[in-house]
Symmetry: C2
Subunit: 346 residues, 2 copies
């Protein structure tokens, strides 16, 4: 045992309630809708005059994250962000989260506190209250389950099923960068396993790595759309890749889509990584996933208004269902878009 | 591969979305407060004029359940019940749940459907809407994370911190039986491992086994208290054992408690198992856990009313903090009650 290890606190010394006390002692409630937070059988909320949205995600070590290159603080932050992203995708504002974690014996209190420091940081940044959760042990590895609750004015929630032929298809930010970052991390992990003394210079990849390790949810876009008086006809967040998400919208809205390859927003660093790894940049943008951007459709009358919203790109148009969901290349040819999103069971 | 195995559907054939479609296709919404259930980034709820309660639990294979003797359908049912029990413990009525599961490759579609059949059965029995969730893979084993949402009239939530000296301590049902059932299951598992052909006669243990494998949440007690016009001063559900729960109430209410050993409700079958296993029946009742009964305190003026509520036993009295939390024996002596609840990390 090294000196550093000696100082770490074993979770069994604390017990479940000791750990909960430690992790929740500094929580300050931010919202009047949080009547009672952590510390009882359940939290109590007051959502008079608003509709609530509720979403949940379960992240599992070895499936969704690799602790060899994911700092625990970043992981905590990202675990919150992926849930908030779903709330924003409903045109709602997140207000509360619950956090449950299962931990194997390999984790010390200090490791759990690092994870929670990222969770708390996300709660601060996005102004959400941590109102409850569960901590338990696991046989192997770490699992994090987060439920996020948000509010929206009655009737203002935006679903996946409201797109109509003629609507413009818009996406925020850029696509494929998080997946590009993942590819770089996996490459460097392989190099490290061969030569643990390698000191890679990662400065050329700073943007794509940050997109993978510390994504942000597009609160700013939801706020900007509201300010611009645009209510999208449909909306979804890009977690599994653009292809998968546009197919969800088209399936639920019973329509097709025409996506213009030339209009896909791709960052220069993503382009560079794609070239370096001999991958097609458009394919990265379509199938990469974990972008946590917002994909939405708007009435064509809102074109002038959307052009004034920073960070949004019009990438195509909703068409009748019989025209399928197709990607139109620069030369005019087109190919059908099929789901190449992540299959958790393959 | 046996014939039976050949017919099972591998999850990778379905993919995540195929699995979700399959598991959620028969869901019918029961509540007007469920504006939108499964199928979007988040569910949408309308809780005008009510307060909401929110609770969450994470169950992990090898820690909370053992699939060698837990039927998957029972597991699904129990996973829902343990969350609903927390909602009832707030004096609230559960209305919606989200369910997230992580599954390793050893599970077939049919296995997952069995698990969900138990989840759906609990949703029917307790009249709650399944409104969302997440399904993903895991490296090993099964994890289930459920969040339950319920409603309560404004100001009617009952917390852990409202007990006052002089209040009567009450508990529903009986205690220790679920833990007695667990001991029997563990004993029979050990026998089975030595002799796989053993055919144990479990009929003498039917009650304690059901309490362990298929517990119920005490919806009836919350309804009966309301009907009797009793609002408890504090309430908690018995998941970790009576000792642990009364300590929670006393810590949060800043008081002590006098618990009468002779008044602890213990079923005859639990008594019998305790004797058979050479365990103290009172200790089972105090430390067993997983009873999912309600432990609550009432104003002494409500004694006449509580005596008319079936299935509730008065087991003691709240006392000032300096008198500690103590168990009073039949002979008059007393011992301090300390938490012997489950420590997930030991």
């Amino acid at each position: 045992m090294t000196e550093a290890n000696k100082k770490l606190t074993q979770l069994k010394e604390l017990g479940e309630f000791g750990l909960i006390d430690r992790l929740t002692k500094d929580i300050k409630i931010k919202h009047a809708s949080t009547v009672k937070g952590v510390g009882d059988d359940a939290a109590v909320l007051d959502y008079t005059d608003k509709e609530l949205v509720v979403t949940t995600d379960l992240l599992v070590e070895g499936i969704h994250f690799d602790l060899t290159y994911t700092p625990l603080k970043h992981l905590g932050y990202k675990a919150v962000v992926v849930n908030l992203s779903d709330v924003y995708a409903m045109n709602a504002i997140p207000k509360q989260i619950t956090v449950s974690i299962a931990l194997s014996g390999k984790f010390s209190l200090e490791a759990v506190e690092l994870l929670y420091s990222g969770i708390h940081k996300a709660c601060e940044h996005y102004q959400v209250d941590l109102i409850g959760g569960d901590t338990t042990s696991s046989v192997t590895g770490l699992a994090i389950s987060i439920t996020a609750i948000g509010e929206v004015e009655k009737g203002q929630a935006v679903y996946r099923n409201g797109a109509n032929p003629g609507d413009l298809i818009c996406v925020s930010g850029d696509l494929g960068s998080a997946y590009a970052g993942l590819q770089i991390l996996n490459r460097e992990k392989a190099v490290y396993q061969v030569n643990p003394n390698s000191q890679p210079d990662m400065s050329a990849y700073d943007y794509v790595l940050e997109r993978q390790l510390k994504p942000e949810a597009r609160k700013d876009i939801v706020e900007a759309l509201k300010k611009a008086a645009i209510k999208p006809t449909s909306m979804i967040d890009v977690s599994d890749g653009l292809s998968s998400e546009i197919l969800h919208i088209c399936k639920q809205s019973n329509c097709g889509a025409k996506i213009m390859d030339a209009d896909l927003p791709i960052d220069a660093q993503t382009m560079h990584v794609a070239e370096e790894l001999n991958m097609d940049a458009s394919l990265l943008a379509l199938s990469g996933g974990e972008d946590y951007e917002l994909l939405f459709t708007i009435n064509p009358d809102d074109l002038t208004k959307i052009n004034l919203v920073e960070g949004v790109q019009v990438i195509g148009e909703i068409v009748p269902a019989d025209q399928e969901v197709r990607l139109y290349g620069k030369s005019g040819g087109s190919t059908a878009i099929t789901a190449q999103g992540w299959n958790a069971y393959s």
